[in-house]
């Protein structure tokens, strides 16, 4: 069974934000919600690196563990989906997420949170809506995965730094890249997300 993961090759990322734009467009993400973002480490200094980050779809996802209504769950492919019908907007999944993936629309005064929204691996949602239906799209965004396609962010990456797909396949691609070019700053976030790093 394929285990879906994300890998951002920080040595290739040019901070063009094509992944961010692609995600926002493909999933019609509302204003203020940022499913994917590009973070730049050591901006302007030697060794500057940019990493594109959304939900990593972790192994034993901490968000799923802390949810008081158990609305977040992993699928067979390792994709972590959630059911917006059950979500109560308590905010715990954000405190638990090591990568800051969950986002909440503000629905009331001060801190009132609406239903949690996050990267779905372009695999639709974890609710009762039929896969690929208009209702599912309105709530969760596109379901490319159901059509056998990979997430839009990775497809649109201008330098192919953001890789998405089966964990073993993209790990292999990254390894070959690092060996061929002679350098690589590592698979950012893999140890925390998947409890396993890529040894080159």
């Amino acid at each position: 069974m394929a285990r879906m993961k994300f890998l951002c090759d920080a040595d290739r990322c040019i901070e063009c934000n094509a992944c961010v734009t692609a995600c926002k467009n493909e999933n019609e993400v509302p204003w203020g919600i940022n499913r994917r973002r590009v973070v730049t480490i050591n901006d302007g200094k030697p060794g500057e690196r940019s990493v594109s980050m959304a939900c990593m779809h972790c192994t034993d996802a901490p968000c799923a563990a802390v949810c008081p209504v158990t609305c977040i769950y992993p699928t067979e492919d390792g994709i972590v989906l959630h059911n917006k019908d059950l979500c109560i907007g308590c905010g715990y999944c954000f405190y638990a997420c090591p990568f800051g993936a969950p986002q909440y629309p503000q629905v009331g005064n001060f801190g009132s949170r609406g239903k949690m929204d996050k990267c779905t691996y372009c695999a639709g949602g974890g609710g009762p809506e039929a896969p690929g239906s208009a209702e599912e799209f309105a709530k969760y965004g596109s379901n490319r995965f159901g059509q056998g396609k990979l997430p839009m962010c990775a497809e649109m990456c201008s330098t192919k730094s953001l890789l998405a797909g089966d964990g073993d396949v993209i790990a292999q691609i990254y390894k070959e890249r690092v060996l061929k070019r002679g350098y690589g700053s590592g698979a950012w976030g893999w140890m925390t997300a998947y409890h396993g790093d890529i040894k080159v």
Partner: protein, 334 residues
């Protein structure tokens, strides 16, 4: 330009160019084989995480929280909430209930030794009772809705199913958030009203030495509040302040706090709340089942004279003097 100036200009620029050409490129690090090594200047994620507990960078969007690339502390907070808090809370609360059950079996209901006299005296005025019940009912509502966040998915979800449970949890969240204000109001009221009667006094040591009213044939002196009640007051005040302050931060997330502060606020809120619940369970036990003649004090405001004589004799003497009543009239009729 004069000839001298032109020569000087030529010499200075040539010198600068020669110096620039001979200084090796500082910024670019070389690998062991002499080839350029772009990763040499990079601080890898392992080093970054050792320097600070999280990796942060620069972002283009206004949400400052998004600048945190990785905060592994999230997994630790998950461990606290799902493992430590679940087990700790279960042990503390179930343990308290078992302990109180044991107390009831061994000590039983503390009776008024000389029986009721039938005569009453006012112990708590209407406003005092209102303040107490405002706080008490708010506390029970907050406690139940709060426990639902931690234990609801274990205890309630299997009974009613995910959809109903979500609706209940959603309503519970709003009830918890809004009831917190009445709790704080009540807490302020009872803190101010009962403050002066809860200062530690010498009589409290004597009360403790006499077994605190639990040993039948010993007479334990006390003022308006005995040491046990004073401890409940001060612990409740401290716990109430802690739970209100941390709760306030949780109610207005990221208004001046960052992710680690929110995690700490939640930890404080949960731990203090559980201990507070245990304390109040004991307080409820003593005020209802544990002692005859106690509940009416807060329910009607009046207590039996014999009860007052046995448990709060110094207070009773003072009250009788205020009311100009005869102390001898406290002896029960035959």
């Amino acid at each position: 330009m004069t000839r001298f100036v032109r020569i000087r200009l030529f010499i200075v620029s040539a010198a600068l160019l020669i110096i620039a050409a001979t200084i090796p490129a500082q910024a670019q690090k070389l690998g062991p084989d002499g080839a350029p090594n772009p990763t040499a200047s990079v601080t890898d994620q392992g080093t970054l995480l050792k320097q600070a507990p999280r990796i942060e960078g620069r972002i283009d969007i206004p949400d400052q929280k998004a600048s945190v690339l990785e905060q592994p502390a999230g997994r630790e907070w998950d461990y606290f909430h799902e493992i430590l808090l679940h087990w700790g809370a279960a042990i503390v609360i179930v343990g308290t209930i078992l302990f109180l059950g044991l107390a009831y079996l061994i000590i039983g209901r503390v009776r008024i030794a000389e029986g009721r006299s039938g005569r009453k005296i006012l112990r708590f005025k209407a406003f005092e009772r209102f303040s107490h019940w405002l706080t008490a009912i708010s506390f029970v509502v907050l406690g139940l809705t709060g426990l639902n966040i931690t234990f609801g998915k274990i205890v309630l979800l299997p009974l009613v199913g995910p959809d109903t449970f979500s609706d209940v949890a959603q309503a519970a969240k709003y009830v918890h958030n809004f009831t917190s204000f009445s709790f704080v109001a009540g807490l302020v009221l009872i803190s101010v009203i009962f403050f002066k009667d809860n200062f530690p006094a010498k009589v409290d040591i004597d009360w403790l030495k006499q077994g605190g009213g639990f040993i039948r044939n010993k007479h334990a002196p006390a003022g308006r509040f005995n040491l046990g009640e004073k401890l409940v007051f001060w612990f409740s005040l401290a716990a109430g302040v802690a739970v209100s302050a941390s709760g306030f931060l949780l109610l207005f997330p990221f208004y001046g706090t960052d992710i680690p502060e929110m995690q700490i606020a939640q930890v404080v809120h949960a731990v203090v709340a559980i201990l507070f619940i245990a304390l109040i369970l004991a307080h409820i036990y003593i005020g209802t089942l544990g002692m005859e003649g106690a509940f009416e004090a807060m329910a009607t405001g009046e207590v039996d004279l014999n009860w007052a004589k046995e448990h709060h004799d110094l207070w009773l003497a003072r009250r009788l003097k205020e009311d100009h009543r005869d102390v001898a009239a406290t002896t029960p009729a035959e």
